[in-house]
Structures are given as C-alpha cells and as structure tokens.
C-alpha cells in the first residue's frame, strides 16, 4: 500500500514539463551563443572528423559530409541523453529526499530535455538538406527510426541512472563504454556490407543510424525485416530500462 497517493497524471505531466524546460534552459545558462551551442557542438565535431577522414585517411565515399553530419547529430543526442540519466538523480537528490516525486520523472525530464535539442538539430538538418537538394522524398519516414533512437536512448538512460545510484564509479565506466560504443557504431565511418558490418548492426544504435540516414538521404526502401528488428530491439531496450527502473525506484531517495 503506498503511504500517500501519487501525484495525479496531469500534475505529473506539469512536473515533467517544468523539470525538462528548466534543464534545457540551464544547459545553456550564461553561454554566449545560447541554444546555438546545441548545433554548434556536432558541427565542430563534423569539421574535425571530415578533415581527418577525408584528407588524412583519404575516404572518398560520395556524400560523406552529409553522412557524417547525420551520424554526429544522432550520436550527440545519444551521448547527451545517457549522460542526462547519469547525472539527473544526483543533481536532484535534495528534491527527491524532500518531496514525494517518482524518481523516474526526474530521469524522464532529462531525456525530454535532450529530445528538445534533438528536435531543434534535426529540424535544422532537414532544412539544410532540403535547401541543398539532398533531402530524400522518403524523409518523413525517418521519424520512425528517430523514434526508435529516442526509445533506445531513453531505455539506456534509465539503466545508466539506476546503475549510477548503486555504483559511484558508473560515470567513469560509462565514459569508457561510450567511447567504445562510438567506434563500434558506424557514426563517422561507412560499414554497409560484409561480416563485420553484420556484427556492427547487431547494435540497435547502429541500426537506427543506418535507417535515419537511409530515409533522409536515399530514395529506396530498406528491407522490412531490418526495420521490424530495429523497432523491436529499441522497444525492448526501452521496456527493459524503464521497467527495471520502476521496480527499483521506491528505494532511490534513501540510496542517494
């Protein structure tokens, strides 16, 4: 039996919105460029990776610049989203110890805040692709893999948040795992065929990137099997992450 009634659904939404919007505002607090930083960060990475891969390593893949940009925008979101999960509970420990608030709302607010950034970045990206004549007519279908990416990142964010409460070295371990994940996901390089590619595409994040690029840049459809398996893998990650978190969330305030 719960000691006191949980906040009504409408109020939960208001709490989620207030926390997400304040997180988003605080991210760019006191920065000269404000929200533009959210786009500038992947653009700076783009310049470095494009220089290294095009001119140092001699990559000649047609349309590599756009391929790289889409990959970096999506990767930056995944990275920010997982870090938001890692820091959300610790940052709101005082609130969780003083107000009866489901801890999941705090993590969800962090996810929502990074989703706002993703929405801005993808809008700018689509606009740029459209103006440059590089946008595929199938572009609206990219919403499906973008949703899959959001579900996957949210699921990971909840898992990392839970691990962060139990183990104080999670942030160190996660930064190493993120580095490994970055290089094992085709973010900055192309891997479409061959046994290595098949292995790489077992990773749901790699599958999302593949589909987002496909729908945004190419005008023919990927196999239905690939799409269905991607949706299932991302959905399963979300359910596992959120489900596990909800089972453990009642003990979080005293563990913080």
């Amino acid at each position: 039996m719960p000691p006191s009634p949980s906040p009504p659904r409408l109020l939960r939404w208001e709490v989620l919105r207030e926390l997400a919007v304040s997180d988003f505002r605080l991210k760019y607090y006191d920065s000269v460029l404000g929200y533009a930083w959210s786009m500038l960060s992947p653009l700076l990475m783009l310049a470095v990776f494009y220089f290294v891969f095009r001119f140092v390593l001699g990559v000649t893949t047609p349309g590599y610049l756009v391929y790289l940009l889409v990959g970096l925008v999506c990767w930056t979101f995944f990275q920010d989203c997982s870090y938001s999960g890692l820091t959300a509970l610790g940052g709101k420990a005082g609130v969780l110890k003083a107000i009866h608030l489901p801890a999941g709302l705090v993590v969800a607010a962090g996810v929502l805040s990074t989703l706002i950034t993703l929405a801005i970045n993808v809008s700018v990206l689509v606009l740029a692709l459209g103006l440059g004549g590089r946008l595929s007519p199938l572009a609206p279908l990219a919403l499906l893999p973008l949703l899959c990416l959001a579900l996957f990142a949210a699921g990971v964010s909840f898992l990392v948040a839970l691990a962060g409460v139990r183990f104080h070295d999670t942030s160190l371990i996660w930064s190493v795992l993120l580095q490994a994940c970055f290089w094992l996901t085709p973010v900055v390089y192309v891997a479409n065929t061959g046994p290595i590619a098949e292995l790489l595409y077992l990773n749901p994040l790699a599958r999302c990137l593949y589909l987002i690029r496909w729908f945004l840049l190419y005008d023919y459809l990927p196999t239905l099997r690939f799409v269905v398996l991607t949706v299932l893998a991302c959905g399963a990650t979300f359910v596992a992450g959120v489900g596990l978190f909800l089972r453990r969330q009642s003990g979080i305030p005293e563990a913080l």
Partner: protein, 237 residues
Amino acid sequence: MIDLRGVSKVFSIPHQKRKTAFDRVFGRGHYTFESFHALNEVSLRVEAGEFVGIVGRNGCGKSTLLRVVAGIYPPTTGTVRVDGAVAPILELGVGFNGALTVRDNVFLYGVLLGVRRRRLEAELASILDRAGISRFEDARLETLSTGLRTRLAFTVALLAEAPVLIVDEALAVGDEKFQAQCLAELRRLKDEGRTALLVSHDVSLLSQVCRRLVLLDAGTVREDGPVEKVIERYRSA
C-alpha cells in the same frame, strides 16, 4: 487523516566503503553491516483537521517519520495510511535553482509541491507581493538574499492544496516578523480544516498551533498527549 501502525524503518549502515562496481564485484562477502532502527514500531493516528507537533532530540527519527508519512521512504515494516495528497514542506525552496529567474522558480517549486501551473500563473503577482519581491520577478534567484528566498519558498509552499501538510523545521527560519507571519498562515490552514504534522525544536512555537505533541526518542513514541505534559517530559528527559 494519518494512520501509522507498527511502522519501523531500518537503514542498513555499511562498516566499509562499498559504493563502486569494483567493490560490489570483487568485495562480495567481505563487507559487514549493522542495522539502524530509525523508527521502531511507531503507531500514531492524526485525525483530519488536527495539527500535531513532533519533538525529540537530534537523531530521534523525526525527519525519517515525516519522510515515511510523505511517501519518500517506504517503511520497512508496518502500514502507513494517509487520506488525501500530502504537501511535504521538509526543506524550504528545495527545488529552487539560483540560475533561473524568480518567476521560473515560482513555477518550478510550486509544481513540485503539487500546485497547478495555471494557478501559479494567475497568482504570480500576488505571490511576489506577499513575499515582498515584486520588483525582482525577472531577476535571477541567486541575486536575492537567503531571507528573501526563504520567504518566497514559504509563500509558494502555502499554496499547496493538499489536505495533509508535513512541515519540518520551517518555523525555525526567518526573523521574528517572518515567524509570526508563518504562524498566522498555519492558523489559517488549520481553520480551513487541513491536517498537519509539524517538527520543530522550538516547542513554544509548536504550542501556538498544536494542542497535541508527540515525543520521539530513539525511533519510539515516548509520550503522546497534551502539549504541556509532553513538553514537561521532553525537558526532563
């Protein structure tokens, strides 16, 4: 109404540092713990419309009791029943962020305490006026003094519509004038028929709004009754 039956809260205190993944994986079996009974078989019933004060020495379990009632900590054993939503005023301004404006903080803190955003928008001018900071609506909260921030937090906290209030040492903050204002507000809430559990070390302040006090000692209810009787026992303990 608040009804606690045989409520215990036990914290497991480790003797060694055990917070890393490395410790968990490689230190299994090498760690020892002891149980700390913050609350021990506490049974307490607060009727609707009643204001009850909780007193006791530091570490006697007062704050844990309030957190269990507020639903923040689940009880280890026993049952807790609260009729209606709870507004926990355990730490004034706990959701505040100095980098946000005063207006944004009113919305954030208010919503966290269960006040609807629409109401906060409608009453913003009146909230700021009562807190005496009307001119600072667009200022960053960090530019206000601690006293002004506390005043703002208390003004927002009093908007909570929940029928049950949980107040931890909120009466101890601020100057005499502010404390008098707090007491007046608490009396108004009592007249409205709200229920409250109040924790304070200042028994004279508690006696102004409560007719009944509960003395906690080492997680156990030592005395529960009229204010004078409990104060006498508290002072002689």
